[in-house]
Assembly symmetry: C2
Homo-oligomer: 201 residues x 2
Amino acid sequence: MKKKIITVSRQFGSGGRTIAKALAEKLGYAYYDSALVEEVAKETGFDPSYIADAGEYAPGKSILSYAFSSAAPHASGKLIATDYLWSAQCRVILELAEKGNCVIVGRCADYILRDREDCLNVFIHAPTPYKAKRIVELYGVTDKSPEKRLEEKDTRRKVNYKYFTGREWGLTENYHISLDSGVLGEEKCVEIIADVVNKLD
Amino acid sequence: MKKKIITVSRQFGSGGRTIAKALAEKLGYAYYDSALVEEVAKETGFDPSYIADAGEYAPGKSILSYAFSSAAPHASGKLIATDYLWSAQCRVILELAEKGNCVIVGRCADYILRDREDCLNVFIHAPTPYKAKRIVELYGVTDKSPEKRLEEKDTRRKVNYKYFTGREWGLTENYHISLDSGVLGEEKCVEIIADVVNKLD
């Protein structure tokens, strides 16, 4: 079946977002990333900067802090907000998918769209030295080592994914194609995915 | 860098072995699978049928049975035999890789050859209904459900891989390319991998 929707999940620093953008251009598909965040923001009334963080990271933080706290999770209202945001995000992604051909980066879109047979799920990863070099070039140096920054960000993505989907983030069987961008190169990754999309009927 | 060695790891029933064989033919590479077992057999003096099982499954069984046993693992000599067989298997795979371009199925070859930069590691997986249908067609019906047979075999592969490599079997980051043969089709998988091998310099 022709794949009209491509979801791209990615390790931090792997270039997955760049690959997704180039892929959307090559295929002539719509590209949803920060634009998607704004869509959700409009719908929920949350502050966009909160949503940018919460969409992929916040629940993880909440879960970890609740795990070591005697307070009931809902006492602070934070999990209620998170769950409400999740519902809104699901609705927006389901609606965007209805609009037509598109590439969606992150945000558990692979899981949210799991009932659609026209959805191709991609995972992009890379060796740590490649990602470390890349994030320093892109985002500069901080007081934390690049390796620590990579680990922290992906751990939060992992916990978030598990919390909302019950699945393991980064496990081959959750994606139709997983590629090592460090070894294959970003351009080759775009080419492989575009080729699959163009040839599957 | 041109990839001269392709290792193919696969879920039971995913068609990974068939894909590997077709890939070797398409590329004009040597193909090692049961032939590899015989190589190891000749070198170690073990019975080939023992090796066929032990190369991918036996340690898992040993570990599980020892975990619930008060006997010291080495008392039976089984783990010593397993470790000896592992060393022999490593030696054979390293030597085969030296011989020239090849495709190697299973046997932790991705890990054994991890220091070679001319090695491309592939993982083939598929949805359970696809694999269940396939193993019944290929191997017939048994008193166990196909789903149970799939689970048992892959659990043993997982434990075996973890025991010898310390890595998680089926985690995207251990392979350069992971493909869902159920959704993409076996032919398309061969095409994607061959294309990567032919175009990487």
